[in-house]
């Protein structure tokens, strides 16, 4: 190959590419998040403003939103980036970083809005599963981790369907449900009640739940990576 005048001399490595993918995917998913949160604010203002704090109100729909964007993160982006010569490794690291960024910004924004509401106008107290006296920072961190786990559960489903098609994908839905059950039971959330009918799970201290959720997130990421690292890229 003769020299090409337009060549950019910097070596190409997974890390650099992953950061670019992370920045691009975060930006796009944050634009979606902006639309999403606008609708949540609108719904809150119309129906729930006197009933509960914004933060408590926004938590549920945010989890569902994260699950959905997690599901489409593989089919929507893996083939796309492969067409531009991006490796699976760079895509995986980039999209995982983007997941954390989106979860953090979204829940951070919800937290800031909730606390502004708390200080500026008389509003109902936030009542979360952490109790009424939990700090705003801790609440945001816990909401962030929960949002991240929902994204990762979606990501598991997306990866399963991409690699194994419909039948294998169904098994990954079961896997994703297991991840969500595990996470919710650590935080005394809705799914725990369901699980408690089968196995009784005691109450965990906050640090235990934090650590447990981080381990769960790492395990889930490991499963996604094992599914994607040699996946056949679809020509479509």
């Amino acid at each position: 190959m003769r020299s090409n005048p337009s060549i950019k001399a910097r070596p190409i490595r997974h890390a650099g590419r992953a950061l670019r993918v992370a920045a691009d995917m975060s930006w796009l998913q944050l634009t979606w998040s902006a639309w999403f949160i606008s609708f949540v604010i609108l719904a809150y203002a119309l129906i729930e403003i006197n009933a509960q704090n914004f933060m408590t109100f926004a938590f549920q729909p945010s989890k569902v939103f994260m699950l959905v964007i997690g599901i489409i993160s593989v089919s929507g982006f893996l083939s796309f980036y492969a067409r531009f010569g991006v490796t699976r490794t760079a895509y995986f690291c980039g999209s995982s970083l983007a997941a954390a960024t989106v979860a953090f910004v979204l829940m951070g924004f919800v937290g800031v809005l909730g606390s502004l509401q708390h200080w500026l106008i008389p509003a109902p107290e936030k009542v979360s599963f952490l109790g009424e006296d939990a700090s705003w920072l801790l609440t945001v961190i816990v909401y962030f981790l929960n949002a991240l786990v929902y994204y990762l559960a979606g990501y598991v489903i997306g990866a399963g369907f991409y690699r194994f098609g419909k039948l294998g994908g169904m098994l990954y839905i079961v896997l994703a449900l297991a991840v969500l059950f595990a996470s919710e039971s650590m935080w005394d959330l809705e799914l725990k009640d369901l699980l408690n009918r089968v196995v009784y799970i005691g109450h965990l201290p906050v640090w235990g739940s934090l650590l447990g959720t981080l381990l769960l997130a790492a395990l889930t990421l490991g499963i996604i990576w094992a599914t994607l690292k040699k996946v056949r890229i679809k020509i479509k």
Binding site: M1, R2, N4, S6, I7, K8, P11, I12, R13, H14, R17, R20, D24, G76, Y81, A82, R83, F84, G85, V86, T87, R88, T89, A90, K229, K230, R232, I233, I235, K236
Partner: protein
Amino acid sequence: MSLDVMLEQVSVNFGSHRALTDITLELEAGKIYGLLGRNGAGKTTLLSLLASYIEPTAGQVRIGGRNPFEHAETMAQVSFVFETDYSEESEKVRGMLQVAERYRPHFDRAYAEELIHLFGLPQDVPVKKLSSGMQSALNAVIGLASRSPVTIFDEVYRGMDAPTREIFYKQLLEDQAGHPRTIILSTHLVSEMDYLFEDVVILHKGRMLLKESIDRLLDRGASITGTAADVDEFVRGMKVLNVQQLGGTKAAMVYGEIDEARRRAAAGKGLDIGPVPLQDLFIHLTGEEGSHEVQSEH
């Protein structure tokens, strides 16, 4: 940087289906290759290997001496352009060029803009709203302007109309002259594209049939024209691909090299020896009979 492409005894299985069998092939950097084969011959599978979309079941793929699979530098240097399903792509043309510029190390934005203008592509329209011909043209623009050392066009021209294809071929040749790279054109449109190829690779039923320079390949076929009786006598014992007769004049296409002595004999009888189009040779070579007789040359 030399990015020669090497495949050594490569086989690919999809479940119990064997898509490629024992492919050994070397593509020297800087040439335009035509990759021909009938439907299901394994062309896209072969190209998917080069783009690291799949891994071989057996054998080795090397680009620039390295295994390209998950190699960040090598994968960034290989462009695999195919008919993309853009039915859900809400990104605009401008946005697609920006992505190409971010991820393709040799991408030339100015050249891309020039091509966009030549193909008459609107920049601010979401890609999913473009006609299929326009989408093909966008793929061609990204493929050409990326100037990747290994650039693969897999049937991207199908959606384009004839004038658009002409622009594409012309641009391909012009840009290749200024920025030589390895270009692989996989196609069914053999008769229209043969002048672009320097070397031809033919796959048949998942196996390598041949790899040769276009000149040598074309030397293997000849069209003999003259009086019917003389032509019949001359081609006796040769592999005849096709015969056309108009009155007493007959033209026979034959497969097989004609040496100098035979050429002189033909001239003595007033027979005219001309070339056979690549398309006809391709049809013959990949027809049910004869497809196994060719020795590939490396």
